[in-house]
């Protein structure tokens, strides 16, 4: 055991058992998985991505690149989980990754011997040839050899919630600067949200032996938490990572509600995605310690100096027994003191600088040697056991140690600040990149702004908060803090001069100093190019720990300063985010909203199969007992409708009330044909164009009163047509006195079609006179049914004698029951959208497949509807040469010469005998169906010069599904071309 006998913020009265790679260990409440592993002497935690190098724990925070495990098992298994971010719970189960057969003996580690093959750009260079080998050989081999954890492949059993929040000030991070900012503005009564990734507030106050206002750091942080929690205007979100900044001062955050529990409480979500809109925000995310590049800097036992302090002070876990400190910053020396304070031996402090900080004498007094102007050349052993140090006099000292604590200084954690494209700028004075310009409303404070000492961070947090409040018109005062002294002196030190062996700049993606040098030699001298060529910073940790070392090495290689080469932009998400959290409650059958018509339940009970039409569920056909194939049902529905009467739910069609004195004028400008002259009580078919002259939609318009029209649209275009009308009346012609509103949802509409439809409706509505004289084709009327407003239209899509009846949607189900009851003597049946489709193809009516955004009115045979007496949207553009070209594909019908052949939509049309190449393509089949009425397959098609080619034979070429068919070109109206049925 490597648990210190005293101290730490763990609760020793609450022991917890957990398993790692099948072995049981014990930890305490308050541990992370990483600290508990260290306290159990587990230093080897995983294997690396490419080389399968043994890896341990490098950090104590969210930047961890190495200690990635698969947490939990079964469907809840989550690969690539950072052990440093997992709060220990009873029964926790974790597995190491990317090793075979086990972590200690990993046979894939031979990849290291093939190192040169895996160098930067190896994909591009090595596997170019022979080409077919890529998919069949190279990729599968690489995929097996490289990689991290694996997905369970099972559905996610957890649920995820979404929430929205608004505030005056969002404080990102609850370290010293964040706490001080939140307190300052919170006390002034502004709305504050404080978001902290950890489960405790305090940041480095929990990890360092510092005092604030005479209190130990963690006690001061706890008091701050209590005060903030008592303020009703402050919301504190712990276990919450802000992971992205977006336009409009929007911040995205993930709250891990239940990740610290064995499983979420019954019915409770695992995580919650927050969208936070903040007038001002303070980025108080602290800083991430820089590693140093030297041979074996990835060995288990090599650890950030700050992380060492965290493990010792916060978790009372010993990361080693004999330490070497390799630091170019004074904060690293503090680690030596902290180790010595708990009785851990510090063998040597190695500092590449030539003078030691004042604390050096304390460190030496406690028994450590000090080497100045020196560096660590190599660490070796798994876990680390030997360290090679190059002294200033050129002598190499080899000594044994099981912990190498490293600090090359600090990088402000400003990734979020460049989410909107603001590139960080190098600051010589502070030796780090800082945000130069920031997203609107955002300011960095504390260590994230290069204010590294505790005193500076507290003061800066308060000062930035005062500024933010002042921007919002509120005056508040910055509190004073009494803080112990510390030094943040340090030199930016990136790499030992001549590392021996593999020396890493990106631990997770296995990118070494040599890869950077290679990239530079090959001309990838821009930071962003080098990143992509070497994959530096492209792993799940986004290179938070070491990538800047890589940038500095590139600068060195090409003889520039790091200020000149710059650094990369960070993109959201700043932390890994589960896809489930983004989906929230919209998953499975609720992936998107579902629209149901009034008869949905009835249809479901009566054998309906449903089709998705946009968000609508539409009944496709109603299978009767004994019908085993959809065609049986559809053929029956068509035949019974054409010979008797059928009822179809057409409620999904778009419906729009257009009213006002200028309603007729507006409609004349929207449609190619004229409506202002339409008599009251009449309906007319209409076509509207887009501004570019192509057909937008078709439907009917009914004139109900002098200033009141009722427009129908196709189901698919209901919303676009409503927008089109609103745009026309609000933007194009605001002078017109016309109002429009959607009534799609108000009316349930039933089409009643077939030779017996009139008899059925007369039985259903005995008060109406539906005779041909009183109610001819295209007549329309309002009436009252059972005390409800109702409407009846004599329109036909099927080509039969047909009517449509509408009642308010709440009465839709009642009306259907009434129609079916009234239809019993006539064998009335419900029919679905498939039969509807068959009948409209038989009748040659264009629908969605023909109104495809690429057809003109003339293409569809509707040229004579285009009024020459008025202007309308699309008229001018419809006259463009390309749109009036006689050679354009025009709507035709097709029938197979051999009646047993089946035409298929999507097949292309070729002249007989022509080679099946694109240049001979003359058109394609848009809609096809089996016509039970005609007893053979029929199709609608768009064929060049089609209108003049009726009677010609063409080849219907279907290379995808196989089989070429000869078909006769004919009029698109297969049935009753004179319209005697529907007018009868």
């Amino acid at each position: 055991m490597s648990r210190l006998p005293h101290g730490g913020l763990i609760d020793r009265s609450r022991p917890l058992n957990f398993r790692f790679d099948g072995e049981t260990f014990a930890g305490f409440e308050g541990d992370t998985l990483a600290s508990a592993l260290l306290a159990n002497d587990v230093k080897l935690v995983g294997r690396s991505f490419k080389y399968h190098r043994p890896r341990g724990i490098l950090t104590a925070g969210s930047e961890e690149p190495n200690a990635l495990v698969t947490l939990r098992s079964g469907a809840r298994a989550e690969p690539n989980t950072r052990a440093t971010m997992v709060q220990l719970f009873e029964g926790l189960e974790a597995q190491s990754q990317n090793r075979w057969p086990n972590l200690k003996l990993d046979l894939m580690a031979v990849n290291q011997l093939a190192g040169p093959m895996f160098a930067a750009g190896f994909y591009y260079k090595t596997f170019m040839w022979p080409r077919p080998f890529w998919e069949k050989v190279y990729e599968p081999v690489i995929r097996r050899a490289a990689g991290l954890g694996e997905l369970s492949g099972l559905p996610d059993p957890d649920t995820y919630d979404h929430d929205h929040a608004f505030c005056d000030l969002l404080v990102i991070g609850a370290g010293p600067a964040g706490l001080s900012a939140a307190l300052t503005v919170g006390r002034a009564g502004l709305r504050v949200i404080l978001a902290e990734d950890d489960w405790e507030l305090g940041g480095r106050l929990l990890a360092d032996r510092q005092q604030v206002d005479g209190l130990a750091g963690e006690i001061w942080a706890e008091r701050a938490r209590q005060e903030l929690s008592s303020l009703p205007n402050v919301k504190v979100l712990t276990r919450t990572a802000v992971f992205g900044i977006y336009d409009g001062r929007e911040y995205a955050a993930i709250e891990r509600l239940a990740d610290h529990l064995p499983s979420p409480a019954e019915g409770q979500p695992r995580q919650r995605l927050w969208k936070i809109v903040a007038k001002r925000a303070i980025l108080a995310t602290g800083a991430i310690e820089r590693p140093i590049v030297f041979g074996g800097n990835d060995r288990p036992g090599v650890m950030q100096a700050g992380a060492v302090r965290t493990y010792v002070n916060r978790f009372a876990a010993m990361p080693g027994r004999r330490a070497v400190l390799f630091t170019s910053s004074d904060s690293g020396w503090q680690t030596a003191l902290d180790l010595q304070a708990v009785g851990i031996e510090v063998a040597v402090v190695v500092d590449p600088r030539s003078s030691a900080p004042t604390v050096a004498s304390d460190v030496q007094r406690a028994g450590a040697q000090v080497f100045l102007d020196a560096h660590v050349r190599k660490a070796s052993g798994v876990p680390v056991s030997k360290v090679e140090i190059m002294r200033s006099d050129g002598r190499v000292v080899k000594l044994s140690a099981d912990l190498v604590a490293i600090s090359g200084g600090w990088n402000p954690a400003i990734g979020l600040g460049s989410n909107l494209g603001h590139r960080p700028k190098w600051c010589d004075e502070r030796g780090c990149f800082l945000l130069d310009q920031t997203p609107p409303g955002l300011t960095a404070a504390g260590a994230a702004a290069g204010r590294f000492t505790l005193a500076e961070a507290l003061a800066d947090g308060a000062a930035k908060a005062v500024e933010a409040a002042s921007d919002l018109g509120t005056t508040c005062t910055a509190p004073d803090f009494a803080v112990s002294e510390e030094s943040d002196a340090g030199a930016a030190y990136w790499s030992a001069p001549a590392p021996r062996g593999k020396a890493f700049v990106d631990f997770q993606n296995d990118v070494t100093d040599k890869d950077v040098a290679l990239a530079a030699r090959e001309g990838f001298v821009s930071i962003e190019h080098m990143k992509r060529y070497t994959t530096l910073g492209m792993a799940t940790d986004q290179g938070k720990s070491g990538q800047l070392n890589g940038h500095a090495l590139l600068a060195q290689q090409i003889g520039k300063s790091i200020a000149e080469t710059g650094t990369i932009l960070s993109r959201a998400p700043y932390q890994p985010v589960a896809i489930g959290a983004l989906a929230g409650h919209q998953r499975g059958e609720n992936f998107r909203p579902v629209r149901q018509t009034a008869s949905h339940d009835w249809a479901a009970e009566n054998g309906a199969a449903f089709a998705n039409v946009g968000q609508w569920k539409r009944a496709q056909w109603y299978a009767r007992q004994g019908e085993t194939h959809w065609r049986e049902s559809v053929d029956r529905e068509v035949t019974m409708t054409r010979s008797g009467v059928g009822i179809c739910d057409v409620s999904t069609l778009g419906k729009i009330d257009v009213q006002g004195p200028d309603a007729g004028v507006l409609l004349d400008r929207l449609y190619i044909n004229t409506f202002s002259t339409l008599n009251v009580g009449k309906a007319r078919y209409g076509v509207m164009l887009r501004e570019d002259g192509m057909v937008m939609d078709d439907g009917t318009v009914t004139h109900f009163a002098e200033d009141s029209f009722y427009v129908t649209t196709t189901t698919a275009n209901a919303a676009p047509v409503m927008q089109h009308i609103d745009f026309a009346r609000q933007v194009l012609w605001p002078d017109l006195d016309v109002q429009a509103t959607s009534v799609t949802e108000q009316w349930a509409t039933w089409s009643v079609a077939g030779p017996k439809s009139r008899e059925l409706l007369q039985a259903a509505f005995p008060d109406l006179d539906l005779s041909n004289d009183s109610f001819p084709f295209m007549a329309a009327a309002k009436f009252v049914w059972q005390g409800n407003p109702a409407r009846i239209f004599r329109v036909s899509f099927s080509g039969e004698l047909a009517f449509e009846v509408s009642v308010p949607a709440l009465k839709g189900q009642d009306l259907l029951a009434h129609l079916l009851a009234s239809g019993e003597p006539f064998d009335a049946i419900p029919y679905g959208t498939e039969a509807l489709g068959v009948m409209r193809i038989e009748k040659g009516h264009p629908a969605g497949n023909e109104l495809n955004g690429q057809t003109t009115a003339a293409d569809l045979g509707l040229a004579r509807m285009m009024s020459k007496k008025k202007d309308y949207i699309g008229r001018v553009m419809a006259a463009r040469p390309g749109l009036v070209d006689e050679a354009r594909p025009r709507l035709v019908g097709l029938r197979p010469l051999d009646a047993s052949e089946v035409l298929r939509a999507g097949a292309h049309l070729l002249p007989l005998g022509a080679a099946p190449v694109a240049v001979n393509d003359q058109g394609y089949v848009t809609s096809a169906a089996w016509s039970p009425t005609l007893g053979h397959s029929i199709a609608l098609a768009l064929l060049s010069h089609g209108a003049e080619r009726h009677g010609e034979t063409v080849l219907v070429h279907d290379p995808v599904r196989g089989g070429d068919i000869e078909a006769a070109v004919c009029d698109p109206v297969f049935l009753d071309p004179e319209g005697e049925r529907m007018r009868g």
Partner: protein, 167 residues
């Protein structure tokens, strides 16, 4: 303190869209209704009528006293002043009341529901779970009502139940 959360669906409502004709202002429409109308997004209650501003010169007018002739009656009263459309069947209206109602609704809408920003009388047109909604606050309980297109009521209810379970 009452129930933490009560959810109910309003039934038997008369609902109509009233759109002012050109040059007719909110005051003239309100005078006919006998209910002062909001000039922008807002909810006003006047006797047995309430009105929600849903767009420029556009209100959703509701009554509890029957849906039958409501729109037809309004059409007659507004002749020449406004275009009236019956929407009694078009919307399902859910009432959310109790101190958890704000938390619940806030999970759905990206509109600030803090009492300083959204108070009784406030209304907004927005989206919840990809479903278009019109909602308004009626009192400090707080009580909200949310109107969704009737065909989407099932999906809206799924969202509502899923989130209510997490409260």
């Amino acid at each position: 303190m009452g129930e933490a959360l009560t959810v109910s669906e309003r039934t038997g409502l008369g609902i109509a869209t009233v759109m002012a004709r050109r040059g007719v202002d909110a005051a003239a429409i309100g005078a006919v209704l006998g209910c002062a109308l909001p000039g922008g997004p807002g909810w006003r209650n006047g006797g047995d009528l309430s009105a929600i501003g849903t767009g420029p010169g556009t209100w959703l007018v509701m009554t509890e006293t029957g849906s039958g002739d409501f729109a037809e009656d309004l059409t007659q009263r507004f002749r020449g002043l406004a275009s009236v459309t019956d929407q009694s069947s078009a919307y399902a209206v859910f009432r959310l009341s109790g101190h958890d109602a704000r938390t619940l609704l806030q999970r759905g809408v990206s509109i600030d529901l803090h009492p300083a920003a959204f108070a009784p009388g406030s209304a907004a047109t927005s989206m919840i779970s990809h479903i278009g909604v019109i909602f308004w606050q009626m009192d400090d309980a707080p009580t909200y009502e949310v109107a969704v297109f009737r065909s989407l009521a099932g999906s809206f209810r799924h969202w509502l139940d899923s989130v209510a379970a997490t409260l």
